[in-house]
């Protein structure tokens, strides 16, 4: 498919004609189209070729593209990631899939010591465009080994891109952008988003890195959120609206690069910054964003910045404790109201 034929396809199918798709289906369609567009695209991960298909995101791909291109892998994440690097160096476009990000941590050496610096140490002669999909769990007692996001770790390392799509549209567009980009990408997908539906273009399209988007316009406070905190922020904004507080919600979409410009523009209007980050409070993405805004326009803030994050504690199993561990919308709304008052 060329760009022209893509443009034609787009013109022939205006947005309203595109069906609603779930986040999981959008991921599956993105993978499927990537595999059609380039024979070098392969999907590797545990159980990717079975019917459940990693929560529906790879279902049917093995039947369609064969076991060679949709590879179940031994329980050896470390080698799996390094294999992806080696395949990418030789020109392929591997997509690696982890049911939980926590398992991916076996491959920290491959990601940090090899993948992130491959381009750098070859002085730009060689690159390794590997896409790593890692899913983060929450609820039903996922506990401390099935719920870590750790996007800030990877965003801290030069040479890696980190995406956190919050919508089905972004899930497909960022996935395709990752697969056909030139850099390694960690795409962190929150399990709770997989059932969310919205209109998704049927053609293969891109969502570029480092371009945050305003999901809801408002005047009194900027709510900058990533991943599953975007729907959270939107619900909080809806609550606040009922109480006369107008909140603007910025979906960061990617954590590395982090689009602080869009956040700064919003804060220039609202004068107040709230960062909603689905991760531990300390040393996280929220701190980075607060720092960047403060460096740029700290003196113009009308209130001290606010971070809404997880406590500095591992995730409990018990549902009673989960309820108090994760941020609650009513609490967030209350804090933001106090900030605006």
């Amino acid at each position: 498919m060329t760009r022209d034929s893509l443009a034609q396809a787009k013109a022939a199918h205006p947005a309203k004609d595109h069906p609603e798709q779930s986040y999981a289906d959008a991921l599956k369609q993105g993978l499927s189209q990537a595999m059609e567009l380039d024979a070098g695209v392969i999907v590797i991960g545990q159980l990717v070729d079975y019917a459940p298909g990693v929560f529906g995101s790879t279902t049917g791909l093995a039947e369609r593209f064969g076991a060679d291109r949709v590879r179940d892998f031994p329980v050896a994440e470390s080698a799996m990631t390094a294999l992806g690097i080696g395949a990418a160096i030789a020109g392929m476009r591997p997509v690696l899939v982890h049911h939980r990000l926590d398992f991916m941590l076996y491959s920290i050496d491959a990601i940090v010591n090899w993948l992130s610096l491959w381009r750098f140490k070859s002085n730009g002669q060689s690159s390794a465009p590997v896409t790593i999909r890692a899913i983060v769990g929450r609820g039903w007692g996922q506990g401390p080994q099935h719920s870590k996001s750790l996007h800030a770790w990877f965003a801290h390392v030069p040479g890696l891109k980190v995406a956190m799509p919050a919508t089905a549209f972004d899930a497909k567009g960022l996935l395709l952008e990752s697969v056909f980009g030139q850099d390694p990408v960690l795409m962190i997908e929150h399990r709770s988003l997989f059932g969310l539906k919205d209109r998704v273009p049927e053609l293969p399209y891109r969502v570029r890195f480092g371009r945050a988007v305003v999901r809801r316009a408002g005047d009194h406070a900027t709510l900058a959120a990533a991943g599953n905190m975007v729907p959270f922020a939107l619900r909080v904004a809806a609550q606040l609206a009922e109480q006369g507080v107008s909140a603007e919600v910025v979906d960061l979409r990617t954590v590395a690069p982090l689009d602080h410009e869009t956040v700064c523009r919003s804060v220039a209007k609202t004068g107040r910054l709230v960062v909603l980050d689905p991760a531990w409070l300390s040393f996280g993405m929220a701190a980075e964003l607060v720092a960047r805004v403060a460096e740029r326009q700290g003196r113009s803030l009308k209130a001290d910045p606010l971070r809404i994050c997880h406590p500095d504690s591992h995730t409990p199993m018990s549902s009673a404790l989960e309820t108090v561990y994760y941020p609650r919308e009513a609490d967030a709304a209350k804090k933001i109201r106090a900030m605006v008052a």
């Binding site: 080698a79 160096i89 090899w114 002085n123 539906k197």
Partner: protein
């Protein structure tokens, strides 16, 4: 050779089995030329390293370990991939990468193979499909990934990973062996067993010194050899490379050898007391270069005059490489961003459409308010 170990090799004493037949004279000479060039190169670098201190990066010299790179230099063509460990210079030259860019890299110059970003232990030469790295066990799996790509492209190219025996202490090595055997990848894993992880000997780290046997138990072709007999190393690796080229799957080759210098730098680190002086002397008597030179001379295929002419030629090349490196400019302060991330996305530009997000997800507050 049945149960080859470092202990058994020391006990066996001087090696006398290097054989060069008439038909092999050309090959033997090629291996000899490679090893002589590498040895002279390493010795010259070692002399310049201190006290000049102009090469300001860790250098792991490979004096005594020339045979494996020599064999690979004649077995791999330009389309094959070679990954190796931090003791990289032999492998770099085995892929016909230029000596002057190697020297310039060690001096941190802009004309270096990686413009001074990598140095000795991370050097690569992408045009020739050569890569190295200091956290070395990971490269075995990276090579397997390249082998997977070559297999899927249905080529007869191969990927080779060179590493030391300590890399087999790491879990990723065994994950790689398992998958390469399972998927019958066109991969050659060549382990230079020099017995030491820096100072720590193999039998202090593992209860048995039978790596090749363990690899075989994973279902991979596997063999252990005396690694300073360049002819035998070549025969063994040739079989492995051809097996990989013709769909026969992966092979593990364990080449027993010994490093003469300290772990890094040209100076001896024997004052640490981790190895016996007589062991080093015994291995020096089994020098790969000396052994092959003697066999060539015995076969009447190398005269003293020829040997001297070869030496002179390489010394001139080395002098020219030093001159190139020393007279090249240092890199200037770069823009860091494009060194770490791509500045263009040609494939995405070609394949993907830009669509207006607003056309599709303008009503996220309604969609997402439903939540989970």
């Amino acid at each position: 050779m049945g149960s080859i170990t470092h202990e058994a090799l020391l006990k066996a004493g001087p090696y006398r089995d290097v054989k060069v037949s008439k038909a092999e004279a050309g090959l033997a000479k090629e291996l000899y030329r490679f090893m002589l060039r590498l040895r002279l190169c390493e010795e010259a670098l070692a002399r310049e390293y201190h006290p000049a201190d102009e090469m300001r990066c860790p250098v792991h010299f490979c004096v005594g370990q020339e045979a494996v790179p020599a064999a690979l230099s004649v077995l791999l063509d330009s389309e094959d991939y070679l990954y190796c460990h931090h003791r990289s210079h032999g492998y770099y030259l085995a892929k016909s990468s230029p000596m002057d860019a190697l020297f310039a890299e060690l001096y941190g110059k802009s004309t270096g193979a990686n413009a001074g970003l990598a140095g000795s232990q991370d050097i690569s030469y992408h045009a020739n499909r050569f890569y190295s790295g200091a956290i070395l066990a990971g490269a075995t799996a990276i090579a397997a990934g390249t082998a997977l790509a070559l297999q899927m492209a249905k080529t007869d190219r191969v990927a080779v990973a060179g590493f030391g025996e300590a890399a087999t202490d790491e879990g990723i090595f065994w994950e790689t062996v398992n998958y390469a055997a399972l998927a019958k990848l066109p991969l050659v894993l060549v382990c230079e067993n020099n017995n030491y992880s820096v100072f720590s000997p193999q039998l202090k780290r593992t209860s048995v010194d039978n790596i090749a046997e363990r690899v075989r138990s994973f279902g991979m072709e596997s063999t252990a050899i005396f690694g300073n007999d360049a002819m035998q190393v070549h025969r063994t690796l040739k079989e492995a490379v051809e097996r990989a080229r013709h769909g026969g799957g992966a092979t593990f080759v364990e080449a027993y050898t010994y490093r003469w210098s300290g772990h890094y730098g040209p100076a001896s680190d024997d004052l640490v007391g981790y190895r016996a002086a007589e062991d080093l002397e015994a291995w020096k008597r089994n020098c790969p270069l000396t052994l092959l030179r003697a066999a060539l001379q015995q076969a009447g295929s190398l005269t003293d005059a020829e040997d001297a002419a070869l030496t002179k030629g390489f010394e001139d090349e080395i002098a020219a490489s030093f001159h190139f490196a020393k007279s090249s400019p240092f890199p200037v302060a770069p823009d860091w961003h494009p060194l770490n991330l791509a500045t263009a996305t040609p494939q995405a530009d070609r394949l993907l459409a830009d669509v207006e997000a607003g056309d599709f997800d303008a009503h996220q507050e309604l969609v997402q308010a439903k939540g989970y």
